[in-house]
């Protein structure tokens, strides 16, 4: 085997220079993405969903030909402002903890007379199908913009939901042994070039939870937190998370309460 003509120092210098170049080029790729994200903030198409949701909320619909204006989202019948900042919460009339989507389903059934199955149909919109649920979520969440997250833990079922959600967060399963914690349990990690918030810590949970729902540019749709959980589990190689299921509510409770204290800043816009 031929000996290398240049000395070991030059070799090391070349290796280090190449590695440094790779790191520099990679650093600027992350910066450019940050610039792209900043440029996206103006003209958020989520406003189109907010407007549609606000109009649908007032529309008389269903077998009872009623609007959702009397829906009690936790702050009293008819009060939408600030409701999302306090969800999920225990509702005495249903005797269970509910997140926003579960509560909207409840109001669609009890006020408008739809069946629960119909109320839960087609929650995620696509190119050929608009989702009323996503419009409702956009409208209701927009009414909590700027309000500090304040999810209570006074009722035993609220406390239980948090503890269950925490256990589920750490549940390793599926073909890849993934848990939520696999990606979201440590600081300063990223998957490919997507930064991963540490959802077990206040700072990470606040930043993440207060920016959903969001207009997902890559989807061309307004996506809710239920969608976010559903799509995480798909990528974790789990089966499909059922919309407004107990696990989805428990996980939302865990993450929402971890975000307490931060100002809600959604509907936002994301890649």
């Amino acid at each position: 085997m031929r000996r290398h003509r240049h000395g070991p120092n030059r070799f090391v210098a070349i290796v280090l220079a190449r590695a440094a170049f790779a790191v520099q080029a990679q650093g600027s790729a992350v910066d450019e993405i940050a610039k792209y994200r900043a440029a996206l903030q103006d003209g958020n198409p989520a406003e189109l969903w907010e407007a549609r949701g606000a109009a649908l909320w007032k529309e008389k619909r269903g077998p009872r030909s009623a609007s959702l204006e009397q829906c009690d989202l936790g702050r009293g019948a008819g009060v939408v402002k600030g409701a999302y900042a306090e969800l999920p919460r225990y509702f005495a009339d249903a005797d269970r903890v509910m997140d926003l989507e579960t509560r909207i389903v409840w109001c669609v059934v009890t006020l408008q007379g739809y069946t629960e199955a119909d109320a839960k149909k087609g929650p995620f919109g696509g190119p050929d199908r608009k989702s009323d649920m996503e419009a409702y979520v956009a409208f209701v969440t927009s009414e909590s913009r700027g309000i500090r997250m304040n999810v209570a833990q006074s009722h035993p079922k609220e406390q239980e939901a948090y503890r269950l959600g925490e256990k589920m967060f750490y549940f390793r399963g599926g073909t890849h042994d993934f848990a939520c914690a696999t990606c979201h349990g440590e600081d300063a990690k990223r998957i490919r070039l997507q930064d991963l918030p540490n959802l077990t810590q206040k700072a990470g949970a606040q930043k993440a939870y207060t920016t959903w729902p969001a207009y997902r540019v890559s989807q061309g749709e307004l996506r809710s937190f239920q969608w976010r959980l559903n799509d995480c589990f798909r990528q974790q190689r789990f089966p499909e998370l059922i919309f407004a299921s107990d696990a989805s509510i428990a996980l939302t409770m865990f993450l929402a309460r971890n975000a307490n204290g931060a100002a809600f800043d959604a509907p936002a816009i994301k890649r």
Binding site: A22, A29, D177, R192, R237, F238, P239
Partner: protein, 211 residues
């Protein structure tokens, strides 16, 4: 009136005391919460595509690692997990560990496989770049795992190293209990040939990883 009110009050106090006692007694233990969480989780999913509900049944490694999440893993527990997983590794019958690094790079780049949105007939990828730096030309890499740049060059191109790489990819739990890394061979994500191709990506002197 006084006696019945007094009785009512006494009963109310007794009931409240009983409720407090019952309330204290029914704050569920950690084990009870774990069990309930698993049960609620299973009831909250439906099968879809290739993802059946059996994916929510944890094996011993998954169950143990879930229990110790966010806590220090005791040495004896870690050793047991590593021993069990090491024993289960299926080493290649021909004793060869090195495949084709070009195929390995494709496997490392491919993020699809085993999701319910994926076609089960299409070979799965390993999605290595999701978590690791590998070839220096690829800027879009994750940091959940350590960099693998110059993996072979740094460790030496020996058969022992090639075997270690094969084992690590086949079943990472054998070498690092409760690691975040999937068990690509053990869980049937990659075939033996695919694992060899990824080994080549790491261990072939001609691979861009080692340049």
């Amino acid at each position: 009136m006084a006696p019945s009110t007094a009785l009512a009050s006494a009963l109310a106090v007794a009931a409240a005391a009983a409720a407090i006692l019952v309330g204290c007694a029914t704050v569920p233990s950690d084990a009870e919460v774990s069990a309930k969480a698993s049960a609620v989780l299973k009831a909250s999913f439906r099968e879809q595509g290739q993802a059946k509900l059996d994916r929510l049944t944890q094996d011993d490694t998954q169950k143990t690692c879930s229990e110790y999440s966010g806590k220090a893993l005791p040495k004896d527990v870690a050793e047991r997990i590593e021993k069990e997983n090491l024993a289960s590794i299926q080493w290649p019958a021909d004793g060869k560990y090195l495949g084709d690094w070009k195929a390995g790079e494709r496997i490392a780049q491919e993020g699809r496989g085993m999701q319910y949105s994926d076609d089960p007939k299409v070979p799965a990828g390993a999605n290595c770049y999701a978590c690791h730096q590998l070839a220096p030309q690829e800027l879009s890499y994750g940091t959940i795992g350590p960099t693998l740049y110059q993996f072979g060059k740094a460790r030496g191109y020996t058969d022992e190293m090639r075997k270690y790489a094969y084992g690590k990819i086949w079943n990472a739990e054998a070498y690092n209990a409760c690691t975040n890394m999937p068990r690509f061979g053990h869980r049937g994500i990659l075939t033996s040939q695919q694992v060899k191709d990824v080994v080549a990506l790491l261990m072939d002197p001609d691979s861009p990883v080692n340049k």
